[in-house]
Symmetry: C2
Subunit: 483 residues, 2 copies
């Protein structure tokens, strides 16, 4: 354990993760079984993700709305695959206002059904299409093995729901959103995800095709960090979502749904964290620069704090998220370790000696020891801070990309796959069947992550066979240990 009480990754990655979430004050388990409390620092990270997604959703014509938390049981049952997929995970309200309800209500595990019902009322003609709706909401799925941010019985997410006149437009929307998710992951969270199609077994209950972004975590496991589903006409038929075409014919719509959840916070922790704790990408970091004042006596304190507040105002005015650590009764060294553990990208030390020289000392979280330290003249401070933040953002993405690319290996047999997924992702020519997936899972504990889009321009390459079972291949698939 380091001085902040964080277990080293090499010793126990799962404990390292838990330590970081708890010690950095991101979240904790709630007294409600399987649920979490998102603490302010964790919630601010989520707010950053929300802003990044909201901006992109609105730019592409989506509007936010809000649908009920409670869904009549009969709605869930209207789409056969959907109810089969979600029934085991439902939380059920049986009593309200002191009485037993006539029809039980389920807490939404996702909202295709109740939103589908509204779409059927709202859509009349082709002029009402496309209908592009997003909702920020909490959902409940009765998970049996909860893990903070990764898998809790309640979580926060956005769920987009859209309806289109043609299948081509629905597919285009599905892909547009997948691209937005990959863009937010790469350019805000600094996580270079793989975009791909989920296997039939892994797709959303009720979808024609599901796509995901998959990120590689520090222990080489995969984390599905966002999904985009082409729902075909499955929900349109279950909920009678129809429109009158230009040719005056009544047609079923084509719908999509897509979501990113508070799981993304877990992805950021595991993609970038190290033995010292978190390393937050500057674009999402709640605090980008922390200022630690250094002084030995009251007269030094006064001078230093006056300078600190001036510098804070200067940075804040430039749009930098800056925090002054004014805690008393702690050594600077303790504070340095504490902020490193919390992943703040830049630390600024301000002491009397620095000030006498007209400088402050900047330390980068992403570069160890002297390499990351530099005295910066107070005069030109803002542009240097902005440049360093941009460099850290780019550096985290670059390092995560190198980690990923160095740990993708092609497997030509089950034995090879097993070796690879012990410390990486295996790319396999794969049949995509449930039997073969189950066999791989059993032998290696790895699951099918996706058929990556960039390696599968044609879904059914002729003549290729599955490297595991020898049947005709669907394409190249990644297999990995996964959360």
């Amino acid at each position: 354990m380091n001085s902040q009480g964080v277990t080293p990754q090499s010793e126990d990655y799962a404990r390292w993760y838990n330590d970081v979430v708890l010690k950095a004050d991101l979240a904790e388990y709630a007294p409600t079984p399987g649920c979490m409390i998102i603490k302010p620092y964790g919630y601010e990270l989520w707010e950053g993700i929300q802003d990044a997604l909201n901006r992109r959703f609105k730019e592409t014509g989506h509007r936010n709305a809000y649908f009920p938390l409670l869904i009549p049981m009969s709605f869930i049952q209207k789409e056969a695959d959907h109810v089969e997929g979600f029934a085991p995970q439902l939380a059920v309200v049986t009593h309200g206002g002191g009485k037993e309800l006539e029809e039980p209500l389920v807490i939404r595990p996702t909202s295709e059904t109740i939103i589908g019902h509204s779409f059927a009322q709202w859509i009349h003609s082709y002029q009402d299409l496309p209908l592009l709706i997003n909702q920020w909401a909490n959902v409940v799925r009765w998970e049996m093995r909860p893990r903070l941010f990764l898998r809790t019985r309640e979580f926060l997410w956005q769920e987009g729901h859209t309806a289109h006149a043609t299948e081509a437009e629905a597919i285009e929307e599905t892909m547009r959103i997948l691209d937005i998710y990959a863009d937010v992951a790469a350019n805000e969270a600094a996580i270079p995800v793989v975009k791909g199609r989920k296997s039939n077994q892994e797709k959303f209950a009720g979808a024609e095709a599901s796509y995901s972004i998959e990120g590689m975590m520090g222990n080489k496991w995969a984390l599905q960090s966002g999904t985009s589903h082409h729902l075909g006409q499955n929900f349109a038929k279950a909920f009678e979502i129809k429109y009158l075409s230009k040719e005056n014919k009544l047609e079923y719509c084509w719908t999509t749904s897509w979501g990113v959840s508070t799981r993304m916070v877990g992805a950021i922790i595991m993609a970038h964290g190290d033995d010292k704790g978190l390393r937050l990408p500057p674009r999402l970091a709640p605090i980008q620069v922390v200022i630690v004042a250094i002084f030995k006596n009251e007269s030094e304190k006064e001078t230093v704090l006056a300078a600190v507040h001036r510098l804070r105002d200067l940075l804040a005015a430039a749009g930098v998220r800056v925090h002054v650590d004014a805690r008393e009764g702690m050594t600077p060294g303790f504070k340095f370790n504490d902020w490193e553990m919390r992943g703040v990208p830049l630390r600024m030390e301000v002491g009397p000696r620095d000030l006498a020289q007209g400088t402050v000392l900047l330390s980068r979280r992403d570069l160890p020891g002297k390499e990351g330290k530099e005295p910066v003249p107070v005069d030109g401070l803002v542009p240097v801070v902005e440049r360093r933040l941009a460099e850290i953002q780019a550096g985290l993405l670059e390092r995560a990309t190198q980690l990923r690319d160095a740990n993708l290996h092609e497997a030509r047999s089950l034995a090879e796959l097993g070796e690879i997924v012990a410390d990486g992702w295996a790319l396999v020519s794969h049949c995509g069947t449930a039997e073969c997936e189950a066999k791989i899972q059993e032998e290696s504990k790895a699951s099918s992550r996706c058929f990556p889009l960039d390696l599968n321009e044609e879904w059914y390459p002729k003549g290729k066979t599955c490297a595991i079972c020898g049947k005709p291949a669907q394409g190249l698939a990644y297999f990995a240990r996964a959360y």
Copy 2:
């Protein structure tokens, strides 16, 4: 009914309200009994309220967090008044993951209990205080007479929860938030609310004292639009929220809670709406300026639309929320009525004749007919639009203030009170007892709104008596019909 299908206020105020909510696409009833769907236009209004509140909460040191939706039944039962107040309104989850739960979970009707439990873990010493937390969340209360935005079984709100070392600090916080609510109401929503203390009967279940902002609606009814509670040590004692003081003594904290909900959208509708529909305050209006293009043929269309898009970009670049109505197959007159009904503050007509003269025609939603119309040179458009929006904002507040001030009357008897509350608010020297409140309610259907702070500097003016029952008065109270 007007051309948009809105019942006149004078004919039936309740139907007018419902018509406006539905026709302006703000919200509608959901298939889940008693619940609503907030449609994009209504949700955008709520997002404006959220931004206005969030900004002020953060400026005053509050941080957002998130606590579980589901609360163990035993938690709700820990504070005696609290459980008595909320038990009849609870929705109860009895089954999860296909099994009956060992302990039923209630969907939060409010979160004092589960947040109190966390505060007890988080707070150790005086250095941890004040603890200033806010949560944006959905809550469920099993209302029997639902009304869109005003009273639905699920609603969205923010709930603030804070803990302090002293009673004085808790009271100061309670009042700081009440001031923030009144500020948002007046300066964002253009509603001049009355700040006051609720009577003992009307206070929050578990509070020492509750304060509210009360707005006067167009029909002179009152709408409680935000509440701020001083909780004393009631929840601190129920949940063992203690801190070690500077003097090294273990003391109970003093806590507060406070909330504004989607009800505020209802307040905006009723405070400003007229027979034509909504009138939205520009600071919160999702669309501040709507541009309607006027043309008779294809060649006019091309010129006009090119100009329209230029003007839209110009306004958007200046930070104005602008929308181009590009719908086809509708007359300009239909569009004018439609946007008036939706309450957009400014309409801009752009036609070939205007353009030939280098002008556009601006129409204000708040001024009828010719009075609100003016041709504006395209060259100086932005500052004129900004000035008009500011004038409309100020004008709505002024009109609402006049309405309120003209309809506050002092009542010296129950008979006078009855006459006044038929079309206004009655100010009464009042004992504050349950018996007297019940009597007034029975005779006049009016309820106690609050003891207004500005008229009650001392809570128990000596020698004053209740105008209704003759017992010693607690102070001056407003009574009104209320939602």
